[in-house]
Symmetry: C2
């Protein structure tokens, strides 16, 4: 499987990934290597990963608690303090081995430590492989506000090793799969149709590769999200608000990222039918596909009002406007659409039925 060249670095796959890493470590003369893991990847992925590294390097393993709820400034401060105590310097390397929380937060931690040290991402979830592996977005949450704090900065390389998918539960795989379905919806109808027909997650390599290709093509054309890159936010405007709300709520179970944006995509497909000409047939196709895979959530009136209240914090907003990405048809997105206020409730109603 060929490597994919992104902005200033390369995404390597499977056995080639370990070769590339070993070559890089041999050449780079890092003073020390810091490996960031969470409790899960510490136990399930780190042993596999370490077994493939040749050479005698000085390591430190830093473990954080697992889960989106820990993707915050407090965890960053703890890791920065640990790195200072463990003599990290500007010639140190950080390797982030984990899901999106670890790669997003680890990238931010590395980018700000002593004004920036190099880092490598090793995504271990399907979501992180297809979504966080290209684009250079790093970040953490601020209270309930997702990825409110962060920088754009590129890793030295990204290693996509699909063996790690064997460590995941079905629900985690489905979460990542929602982003892959999104790649079809915004850019490639044929790919959408192929993904719909998948009945299990056993042979994912080619699909992961194709999803990364799609995302890479978009972010290379618009790295700072001035226009084209916004299409990657399809389903995310409502999806992020829903995810944030469930994350903060004391009474609701937390939703995984893919589960939240699956709901967001159904609702934003409805808005697309109303505003940008998506056909009823394609709208129904989108709704059916997501509802087949993702558990339906019941929203109370109170939930909906709270979720709509969070929309004003969306990062795509400007000058007080909430900007949506909608679809003209599957594969054809349109950016910067404003939504008439009365349509939000209708979108929730459409999801409910």
């Amino acid at each position: 499987m060929n490597s994919i060249a992104s902005d200033s670095y390369v995404v390597h796959f499977k056995e080639k990934a370990y070769n590339a890493l070993n070559e890089h470590l041999k050449d780079a003369n890092y003073s020390k290597i810091f490996i960031l893991v969470d409790e899960n990847t510490h136990d399930l992925c780190l042993p596999l990963f370490m077994a493939e590294i040749n050479g005698d390097y000085s390591y430190e393993i830093i473990e954080i608690e697992a889960g989106e709820i820990h993707k915050n400034l407090e965890t960053c401060a703890q890791v920065w303090e640990a790195m200072s105590e463990l003599d990290a310097d500007r010639k140190s390397l950080m390797i982030n081995v984990g899901g999106g929380v670890v790669t997003d937060m680890g990238g931010f931690i590395a980018s700000c430590f002593k004004r920036g040290i190099p880092f490598i991402n090793v995504p271990t979830t399907l979501l992180a492989m297809v979504d966080a592996s290209v684009g250079g977005k790093t970040g953490i949450d601020l209270g309930a506000l997702k990825n409110q704090i962060g920088v754009i900065n590129q890793p030295q390389m990204v290693l996509v090793i699909s063996d790690f998918l064997n460590t995941l539960e079905e629900r985690q795989l489905q979460s990542g799969f929602a982003e892959m379905l999104k790649h079809g919806l915004i850019k490639d109808k044929k790919y959408w149709t192929e993904l719909q027909m998948l009945s299990n997650f056993e042979l994912m390599d080619d699909f992961i590769y194709h999803s990364i290709l799609i995302k890479n093509e978009v972010v290379l054309q618009d790295p700072t999200e001035q226009n084209l890159r916004k299409i990657l936010n399809f389903g995310h405007t409502l999806g992020h608000a829903i995810e944030s709300y469930f994350l903060e709520s004391a009474t609701h179970e937390t939703l995984l990222h893919g589960e939240a944006i699956a709901i967001g995509m159904i609702m934003e497909a409805f808005l697309s039918k109303e505003l940008t000409g998506l056909s009823v047939k394609e709208l129904e196709d989108i709704r059916t596909t997501f509802l087949k895979r993702y558990k339906k959530i019941v929203f109370t009136e109170e939930d909906i009002q709270a979720i709509l209240g969070l929309l004003k914090f969306d990062k795509k907003n400007s000058h007080g406007n909430i900007n949506f990405v909608l679809l003209r048809s599957i594969g054809n997105p349109e950016i910067d659409i404003k939504i008439p206020n009365n349509l939000y409730i209708k979108a929730f109603d459409y999801y409910k039925v």
Copy 2:
């Protein structure tokens, strides 16, 4: 006074500064302007500044507590939360009006908010004018470790308005003057001699201009501090450790940045005499010049050990080595010098005598 072009932006002076700002605001169509001040600049500088802005823009003033002790993650979190509540979006502008704490931290806050919004720096202290106005360093402290967390990012413009110097006490002016003397020591012997002869701070414009020119020339050649830029750290390796130690100490009065690096420069000049051939005559000249302006500090044995313990956190370190910038002669620095352990105590002894 002509403007100085730096990396991707321009430093404007005095009346030209306000013109440039007003033109920029007229053209840029920001959604909202956030002005960051501390208690002091809120009262002393903000009214003067606001009086010079033409046009009807939407503003929010965010005030933080004054002092290096507040240059930390907690203050950043408070400002980020305030900005979120006040509907800051990616098209918002941040203007940092204050000393180095406000411009360094405000630059960091802007650089990380929603992965980066534009900012303008308006340094109000002599130190911030000559030191923080070019180079793109943003950052905050981590516990006692100075500027341990930050990014390199450039402002839209920097406005150097020397009228603000009238709001400062003598001690603050002396602190900034130490950085100007450093510019002479590392790059320009004639400038060093001119500065030595200054008996007051009344006509500083030309000197400020010259200091910014020197620093700008250095950072343009080496923006990421791979080699040449390290010369700006003369006096800072010991100076930062001394500053950190006094900042954290319950029993010592806090030193201003310039006061700490003045001590650092005397000691590092001594190391230069020992290791890089600085003449005894120039060493004595340096010592006398600084001791004439800056109060002599008494270090106990315990102080010295604690300060030397902090050296390992210096950002210039790599592979366990502490790297110093020393002088071959006034105006001729040399980077990446390792210090034999026995010389540190001798450097303190030389300062003490």
